[in-house]
């Protein structure tokens, strides 16, 4: 029984790695262009908010730069993971129709979901790492500890699963663009990235705590500042990850008969 489970797990991981491999090869060929486009927004945020607007500001005993950098890392991980998994899948599914080829292969749904989500995770990690390197060079004083890395990984997985789910449910490229504009863009600014949620009115605070990025920002910030990571936020992150994973699984099962 355990042998057969181990075989299935091994085969499933091989299938997922095959799916990831193709996307990785593509990323490798376009890495330069990818890095350039993916780093522009976070660097602009860093310059505008970290150096410009926030210069001299103090946030609960830390500089604004130290406060804002983890938030920008969270939003970079969110957007690149979501787009890395979702946008590519949406194009593959609706334009190239190459997703049909995957549906027709003897690949398990779980392997397919994980394989497709992993490329979002890789893209999220690559972009976040590049941004972290820049931020460290600029003296942001980040602490890269296991808690930070785990929080970053969970963020990338969460938004990759969300990207897969959105890409599979979207009926057109426009649908996915609308999802990004209506859900991701507001979250970029409101998810505890650029300002502390302590400063907002209670009603708004409740709404903002319902956003997954809020908890990513809180956890990444606490870890980066070498403070204890709030358990409730970390649990919320795991819950969102599970929710988006199940949503992706549901969307995938709906795609195939």
């Amino acid at each position: 029984m355990s042998n057969s489970l181990a075989t299935r797990l091994w085969m499933g991981s091989q299938d997922a790695s095959t799916i990831l491999w193709a996307d990785l090869m593509i990323l490798k060929r376009r890495l330069g262009r990818y890095m350039l486009t993916t780093l522009i927004s976070p660097l602009l945020y860093l310059v505008a908010f970290g150096w410009g607007l926030g210069r001299g500001m103090n946030m609960n005993g830390t500089t604004y730069l130290q406060f804002v950098v983890p938030g920008i890392i969270a939003l970079t991980a969110m957007t690149t993971s979501f787009n890395g998994a979702g946008t590519r899948l949406n194009v593959d599914r609706l334009y190239f129709r190459s997703f049909d080829e995957l549906l027709m292969a003897p690949t398990g749904t779980l392997s397919l979901l994980i394989g497709k989500a992993l490329i979002g995770v890789v893209r999220g990690l690559v972009s976040s790492s590049a941004f972290i390197a820049v931020a460290l060079l600029m003296g942001s004083g980040l602490h890269l500890n296991p808690a930070f890395i785990i929080a970053l990984l969970v963020t990338c997985f969460s938004f990759s699963f969300l990207g897969v789910m959105a890409a599979l449910l979207a009926r057109s490229h426009q649908d996915l663009a609308t999802f990004s504009s209506v859900i991701l863009l507001p979250m970029t600014f409101l998810g505890g990235t650029f300002f502390s949620l302590d400063q907002v009115p209670l009603a708004l605070k409740v709404a903002l705590y319902a956003l997954p990025l809020t908890h990513s920002s809180i956890c990444l910030r606490a870890a980066a500042l070498n403070q204890p990571v709030p358990e409730s936020s970390f649990l919320a992150m795991l819950l969102f990850m599970l929710l988006f994973f199940l949503g992706g699984l549901f969307a995938l099962r709906r795609s195939s008969i």
Binding site: M11, Q14, D15, T18, I19, W21, A22, M25, I26, R29, R30, D92, F96, R97, S98, F99, D100, E101, L102, L103, M104, A105, P106, T107, S256, I257
Partner: protein, 308 residues
């Protein structure tokens, strides 16, 4: 080595129907595709050929009817994917991957890895005549080369049921012959090939041909059976010394029960079978002659006329 494990029809459809919005694409379609055969599905655009194929692989759900693949209801077709290969009209390959990488990817999807994958890829690149281009990006290939790579990717796992939607579009005649030799080899090993095409000479190569029209199967049989169903017969064209000799010959043949007429200076005689040619030549002595076999194209034109 392909060898089908199922003795019944590879594909069996009974009264299947599919509607897209207001458009009824499949209308109680009945089709039986025997195992280890080449079956050609012909029909005008919009007749439902591609919809039928996509239903076989489970890419679209049906509204009604019974569709079975190797005896399994199509709902369970996912369990048969390792036995099915589907080449769409525009198979989706990764344009940013090389030919070799595309093939490696498809091999990996079907669990073929390592040495077995390398051997199979070499064999297929040879077959589709793309070995010297294995390092080129798929996105840089011409239409015909892309089509050949698509076929190679479809064949990577040696499927028992091969669904080919217009596979030889853009492929030159020499290579088309290679493809057909390969297809024949596959059927002799037990594979079933369902092919859609607009090329009648390709349909003539298939053991069975089905003519779809308006979501239904209008006719099915071997190419010869379909020609005979359409009432087409071979005819003999005879060139006599001059026009008056042509008219005399036509009249003589008519007296002996042949349907003969003078057309563009030559006598055309309809034959019930090729063996009647000897009897015609006993009655008249032409300067030259030519036998015309009916084509599948004429058969379908005739069948189409009958429908209208």
């Amino acid at each position: 080595m392909i060898s089908s494990k199922y003795a019944g029809p590879a594909v069996f459809a009974r009264k299947i129907s599919k509607r897209f919005g207001k458009l009824q694409v499949l209308k109680n379609l009945d089709i039986k595709i025997p195992n280890a055969t080449t079956y050609c599905l012909l029909g005008p655009n919009g007749s439902g050929k591609t919809t039928f194929i996509r239903a076989i692989v489970g890419l679209i759900g049906l509204d009604g009817g019974d569709l079975r693949v190797f005896g399994e209801p199509v709902k369970g077709v996912a369990g048969l994917y390792s036995r099915i290969g589907y080449m769409t009209q525009h198979k989706a390959l990764y344009p940013d991957l090389t030919l070799q990488e595309n093939l490696e990817f498809f091999a990996g999807l079907y669990g073929i890895r390592g040495l077995a994958a390398r051997k199979r890829i070499d064999e297929l690149l040879d077959m589709v005549d793309l070995k010297p281009h294995r390092g080129r990006l798929a996105g840089d290939l011409s239409g015909g080369m892309y089509q050949r790579l698509s076929l190679a990717c479809t064949l990577i796992h040696e499927p028992e049921l091969l669904l080919l939607d217009e596979p030889t579009v853009g492929v030159d005649p020499r290579l088309r012959q290679t493809f057909w030799d390969y297809f024949n080899r596959l059927t002799s090993q037990g594979a079933t090939i369902l092919i859609t095409t607009h090329l009648m000479d390709e349909a003539e190569r298939c053991r069975l041909v089905g003519y779809m029209r308006d979501g239904r199967l209008e006719a099915q049989g071997s190419p010869d059976e379909l020609k005979s169903l359409a009432g087409l017969k071979p005819d003999l064209q005879l060139w006599m010394q001059d026009e008056s000799a042509s008219y005399s010959a036509a009249s003589l043949l008519a007296d002996h029960g042949f349907s003969a007429r003078v057309e563009e200076g030559a006598v055309r005689v309809e034959l019930a079978s090729e063996s009647q040619a000897a009897e015609v030549l006993r009655l008249v002595k032409p300067l030259d002659l030519r036998m015309h076999e009916p084509t599948l194209s004429q058969a379908f034109l005739k069948l189409g006329e009958a429908d209208r």
